[in-house]
Symmetry: D2
Subunit: 392 residues, 4 copies
C-alpha cells in the first residue's frame, strides 16, 4: 500500500492530476531542527527541467510543512508535507485513452482497480515520488546530525556505458578503484554534470547517449549506485526484515526499477568463498572492521559498520515519442500515436529518489534498533561466554 516503514512511517498520496502530492511522516524524532529548506533542496534535485537531459516542464514543487513542527523544531507528531500540482484537473478524454500504453501501468491499474485514472497509470506517475523524497530529506537530516551518516547516489551506467571504476578490467564493484570512489564521492561531485555521474569522461559519453536517444525519439535505461557511509552497526531486523531486504523492497518500489544488488551482488556469485569472505581486523578504536567489503556493509541482514553500497537497475522509460503498434483496451490492433516529448532517461532524476528511500530505510532501522538496545541496556550484564569472551 502507500505506507512504508514501521517506526519511521511514511504514507504518500497524490497522482499527476490532483490538487497536490505529498506525505505524512509519523515517528519523526522530536527535537530535530527542521525547516522547509532542508527538504526543498532534495525536491529541487528531483525536479524535472533542470537540464537538456530531462523533461522541459518546469514544475515549481515548493514544499510546505503543514504540521508537526514549531519554532523550527519537530514535535515528534506527524509531519504532513505537501507540494501543489500545477496541473490539477483530470485530463480531458482523447483518442489515446483507448490504448493502454505498452509497458506502462495503464492496463494493470485498470485490471486492479476497475477504474481508469485520466492519467492512465494513477499512482505510477513520477510525481508520486515527491512524497518519498520529502520524507527522505527529513530522515537524512536526523541521520546526518545524530550519526554523521552520508548518503550519496550517482549514475553508474546509462545504456551500455558504464563508469570506468565499474568496468570489467577494474575489478568491478569490489575493485579498488570503485571502493575508493565509494569512500569519498560527494553530492557536489555528483551534481558536477547533468547526468550525475562522478566519472566526468563517462558522464560525457552518457550525455551524448541520452541526447542521441532523444533525437531518435527513443529512451534508454541505466543504473544508479548508492553508498551509505557511517551507518551504525546493528541495523536490520532478521529474519524477514534484514537490512538488504528492506533496501531491496524500498528500491524496487521506485517506478521503473528492474533489479537490485548489494555488495558484490551478481558478480559475487562468480567468486569463491575464500576470496569473497571479509576477514576482520582491529579498527584501532576498540572494535573490529573488515579488510574487504564484499558484503556491502551488511552481514546476516545486519549492518556491520562498514559502508553500505548497492546498485539499482532502471529500465528505459515506457513513454517514448514515437508511434507504437499495439492494441486498445478492447483488443483492437492499432497505433498509439506519440504525444509530446518525454524524458529519454530517468536515472539522473532517480538519484535523489534512491537517496531518499535509503534514508527512510535507515531511519526506521535506527529507531527499531535503538528501542532494542535501550531496553536491553537496563538489564544486568550476561555472562562472558555469551559475549564472545573466553570464560575464565
Amino acid at each position: 500500500m502507500s505506507t512504508f516503514g514501521r517506526e519511521y512511517r511514511v504514507t504518500t498520496y497524490g497522482e499527476s492530476h490532483c490538487k497536490s502530492v505529498g506525505c505524512i511522516i509519523d515517528g519523526v524524532p522530536p527535537g530535530l531542527a527542521l525547516s522547509e529548506e532542508d527538504i526543498q533542496v532534495q525536491l529541487t534535485r528531483r525536479r524535472p527541467g533542470q537540464s537538456a537531459l530531462t523533461t522541459p516542464r518546469n514544475e515549481k514543487d515548493r514544499v510546505t510543512i503543514q504540521s508537526g513542527c514549531e519554532f523550527g523544531y519537530t514535535l515528534g507528531t506527524p509531519i504532513c508535507l505537501t507540494v501543489a500540482n500545477q496541473d490539477h484537473r483530470p485530463r480531458d478524454y482523447s483518442e489515446t485513452d483507448l490504448y493502454p500504453r505498452p509497458s506502462h501501468a495503464d492496463y494493470t491499474y485498470l485490471q486492479k482497480y476497475g477504474v481508469k485514472a485520466s492519467s492512465g497509470g494513477g499512482r505510477s506517475s513520477a510525481r508520486e515520488t515527491i512524497g518519498r523524497v520529502a520524507a527522505g530529506a527529513v530522515a537524512e537530516k536526523y541521520l546526518s546530525e545524530a550519526h554523521g551518516v552520508e548518503i550519496v547516489a550517482f549514475v553508474s551506467s546509462v545504456g551500455g556505458i558504464e563508469m570506468a571504476q565499474m568496468a570489467e578490467g577494474s575489478g568491478g564493484m569490489g575493485g579498488e578503484a570503485f571502493q575508493q570512489l565509494l569512500g569519498s564521492v560527494t553530492r557536489a561531485q555528483v551534481d558536477g554534470n547533468a547526468v550525475r555521474c562522478p566519472d566526468e569522461e563517462a558522464a560525457q559519453r552518457m550525455q551524448e547517449e541520452i541526447l542521441e536517444c532523444s533525437r531518435e525519439k527513443n529512451s534508454t535505461g541505466g543504473t544508479v549506485t548508492c553508498v551509505i557511509r557511517n551507518a551504525p552497526a546493528g541495523l536490520g531486523e532478521p529474519c524477514f526484515d534484514k537490512l538488504e531486504a528492506q533496501l531491496a523492497h524500498a528500491m524496487m518500489s521506485i517506478p521503473a526499477t528492474k533489479g537490485f544488488e548489494v555488495g558484490s551482488g551478481f558478480s559475487g556469485t562468480r567468486m569463491q568463498g575464500s576470496e569473497h569472505n571479509d576477514a576482520f581486523e582491529a579498527d584501532g578504536q576498540g572494535g573490529l572492521r573488515t579488510r574487504t567489503n564484499h558484503s556491502g556493509g551488511i552481514q546476516g541482514g545486519i549492518s556491520n559498520g562498514q559502508s553500505i553500497f548497492f546498485r539499482v537497475a532502471f529500465k528505459p522509460p515506457a513513454t517514448i515519442s514515437q508511434d507504437q503498434q499495439t492494441a486498445t483496451y478492447e483488443g483492437a490492433s492499432g497505433v498509439l500515436a506519440a504525444r509530446g516529448r518525454h524524458d529519454p532517461c530517468v536515472v539522473p532524476r532517480a538519484v535523489p529518489i534512491v537517496e531518499a528511500m535509503a534514508a527512510i530505510v535507515l531511519m526506521d532501522a535506527v529507531l527499531q534498533q535503538n528501542g532494542r538496545a535501550a531496553t536491553r541496556g537496563v538489564l544486568a550484564p550476561v555472562p562472558a561466554h555469551l559475549k564472545g569472551i573466553k570464560p575464565v
Copy 2:
C-alpha cells in the same frame, strides 16, 4: 522481524540448537484440503544430504501440523507447523567461539543483540528457512487448486557457469530460448539432476565445479531463477508494496542472497524503450496479452497475467573448510581453524526456498486483491470513460 505478509502472515521461529524450528501461518484460507504430506514434499527437497553436492548430515525434518486443521481441512485459524531439531542443545564452548566467522553473521548478531548464541549466527542459520518452506507449501497448495498457479525455480548458474539459454549469444533472459524454457520447465525436470539445473549439459559442468570447490575446501556462489505461471492479473499493492518490491524483499531475506532482478533486469538497462516495451494484443479470450515479456509479468507494480520471472544471486557460503586469517571479537589477529565439512554451494537447496517465498508473496497479494475486488464488486458500475471505453 520474524513475520512476513499482511493477510497471509508467516511468523517463523527457531535456530540451530534449540528444540524445534517452524512457523505459525495466520490467514490461511479456510476449507483448503491439507495434509502433512503436502508440506513434507518441499521440506524434503530443502533437506541437506540428498546428494554428494550437499552437506552429508541426514536430518529427518518431519513436519507436524500442530493446529488449524481438522479432518484434513484448514479451519481458517492459525496453522502452527513444527520440525524437531536433532541437535537441540546449545553447543559447548570451544576456541573457535573467540572468532566471529568472516562474512558470517556472528559479529553483527553480537553487535545487534549483545548476546552470542552458541551457534554464533543465531537466526542466520539455514534451519531458519524450514518455516518458510513449510509456509510456502501451504500457500502453493491454495494457489494451485484455486488458480492453477505453477511456481518452478531452478539453478541458472554456479560460479561462472551459466545455463545455455541465458548465455550472451542466446539473447539472455529476454531471448526466445529462455522464454520457452520458462513456459514449460517443471519441477520433475529440475530435480532430474543433483544440481537442479534443467540444462543437463550445464548441470554436468556445474556439478564438476561444485565437487572441485569441495576438494579445494572452498565454496562457490550461483543464481536461482524462478518462474510463476498462471498468476492472476491485478496482484501487487502500489506504491510501496509493488509486486516486484515484495518479491525482492522476500528473496533478499533468504540467507546469502546478494541480488534480485525481475524481467529484463540489469540487462534491460542496456535496451531502448522501443525494443523493451511489451506491446499488447488480443489474447483470443476477450482480454489482452503482451507480445513480449520484458516486464517479467509485472507493470506498474501489478501483475499483468503473463508469466512472472526473476533471478536471485547467492554468494559463496561463508563457512569454508580451510583456515582463515582474521581477528577475535576482542581484536586479536589469529587464525580461525576450519572445522568439519560444509556445503560448498547452496543454490541447489535454495530452489525450494525461493519457490516458497514466491508462493507466500503471491498468496498474500491474492488475499489483498480479492478483498478489494469483492468490496468494489457490490457497487454500481462506473461510467464507460472510466473503464477505457470510448464514451458515446
Copy 3:
C-alpha cells in the same frame, strides 16, 4: 501511532496551531461516488460553535479532497483530505505555559517527546479528530451504498442525567424500550436538539445541566451510545482483532474517553447465563437471528448480523474556566489562572466522532472478511459435517 486500520488505513496529522489538519486514507474501495459534500456534512456536525452548548469559536472547517478522486469517483488510490487551520501560528509564550494543565496532556507530552508544543498537549487537541471524522464519512458512504449500513450515535447521559430508556426501572441497555430505540433512532432525531439526545425530556434537563456547568465555570462528563444497523455477519478478526476489541481500541483512542461497553456491558456481569444467552430462531429468510441481543451483535468477536451497539464514557473536560491550584513543570506550587471560555461538555460534539470511528472499524473489517470469503469461494466445497449439517 497515527495510523488506524489494516486494509482501510487512516493516517491523521495536525494539531491546533499548524497550517492544516487532515488525513490520508489508503485502501478506499475504487469506483465509489464521492464528493466533498459527502464528507463535509459530518465535519459540520463535529464543528464547535453550533449552539450555546459548545464553544463559541466559529471555525469554518471546509474539507478539500487533495487526491484519489476523479470525475466524482474514487480511484482506489490514497485520498488525502485537508482542512485549513484558522489559527496556524504557534501561540506566543505566556505565564500559563509554566504550568502543565491538570488532567490535560501537557505533562505527559513533555515526558514522552521532550518538546513542548505551544498548545501544550500537541495532538491531544480536539482538532486532531477532524481527520477521523473525514475518514469515517468516506467509510460510511461505502457501507451505506454497499450494505445499507446505518450508524447512529447519540448522547445517552450528561453528568448524572440519563435518558429514560436506559434508566434502572426500564431494564437498562437490554430492556425493551432501549432496544426499540436502537432499532429506529435516526440522525435527524438526534440532531433535533442541541444536546443530541433523542429523549427530548432528558435532553432538556441535560441542556440545563450543561448551562449550569458553564455558569459555574465548570465542566461535566457524559456518555455516547452508538448503534450500527445492517452490518453483515462475519466481521471481526479473532483472536486479537475481535470486532469488539477493535471498536474498543477505536473509541478509547478518542480524546477524553474513560470507558467502553458493548451489548449488555457492565450490567451484563450481574446477569445469569440462562438469562443472558441469546437463543437462535429462523429469520424467515433462510438464516438465523437471535431472539434477544445481549451480545450486542457480536459473538466470539465476530458480528452475527444483529444490531451492534456500544456505549462510550467521556470524562468532564479538563480545561475549565476557573483557577486551579497545582504546580509548575519545575515543581513550584501555584495557581494556574483560567483563560477564556471553554466547552463545558464534549459529548454532543463527540457524536459524529464516535460514528466516524465505528465506520472506520467496520470498513476495515469488511475489506478483510471480503478478502477471506472471496479467496475461499473458489475452492471446492467442504463435507457436510464441516458445515453444521447432519452427515447422511
Copy 4:
C-alpha cells in the same frame, strides 16, 4: 488476527482439539534471564481445576521453550512456547453439533470461515488464552527486572456482589479505600481465596454465589480490576495507539469480555471537571506527581508515572448445564441438551489472563518509547521555552 503488538509481538495458535497451543513472541529483549518456571507459574494460575469453583478437568499445561533461549538467557530471537493438548483429536460428531450454542461463537465462526471446527467455536476456546498468559509472563519478567513494575489483577465483583472498597458509599474507584487497596494489593493476597478477591468478606459471598449458580446449572458474570504500579511515564502512542486504547483492545480481545473502563471510568462521567482534575505537586525527587488519580495513570493517552488501573467486565459463560430452547444451523426449533458440567464463573481464572495482556501492552509500549527516547537523546537540546521552562 492472531498477532498482537508492534515491537513486542505475540502470535498465538491452537484450539481445543489440536496437538498443542502456544505462541511465538518476537521482539523479546535479549539478555533477559528466563526459565520455563518463570512462565509456568502464571500458566498454573490460569489452569482450571484448582478449586471447587472452576471446572474439574485437571489439565497439566506444562510449557516448553522451543527456541530463543540458551543457557538461561533470551537471545533476542523469537521465542516459541508450546503446551500440549491432552485432547488432541477432533471431537466425534454428535446431535448437539446440529445446534449453534446460544451466545457462543459456533454460529459466527461458521458465518466467517465457512468451516465448522469440531469444537464449534474454534479459537474462541479458553485454551487460546494459554499463549497469551505465557507471552505475558515473559513480558512481566522484563518489566519487573528493569523497572520494578508490579501488575496485580483481582476479582472485584461476581454477579451483583462487589467488594466493599468499590461500593457506592465508599467513594467508588476514586475513593480512598480503593486507592489504598490498589497501592498495596499483592498476588499472594489475591490468591488467598479461591475466588481471587482480596476482600475476604466479599470473597466468601462471591464463593457462595458461584456455588449456588453451579447448583442451579447456571452461570454468572463478574469484573476483574487490575493495577499496574511503577510503570514509567511516557508510554503510549497517540493518537490512535493511546495507552488506554491499547489496553482496551487487549482486554476486549479476551473471550467473554463486555466492557472496559480506566481510572474514574463510567463513574467519572458523573463528575465535574474541578473535582475530576488531578492537580500536580512536586514528588520530592525532582519530578511531578498528581494529588489524586482519577486519570488512572494515563493522560492524553500517555502514562504519567502514577498507578495505572482499569476494570474489565466478563459476561456469564454461555455454556451452561441446562437445556436451552433454540434453533439448529438449518433453522429448526429445538432443544440443545446440556452436556457435562461447566465453569459457572470465569473471573477467578481470568485474573492471570488480564495480567498477561496488561504486561504485553506495557512491554510493547516500553520498546516503542525507548526507541524514540534513545533516538532523540543524541540530538542537541532544544531551547528552554520548548521544555516548559521560562525563557530568560
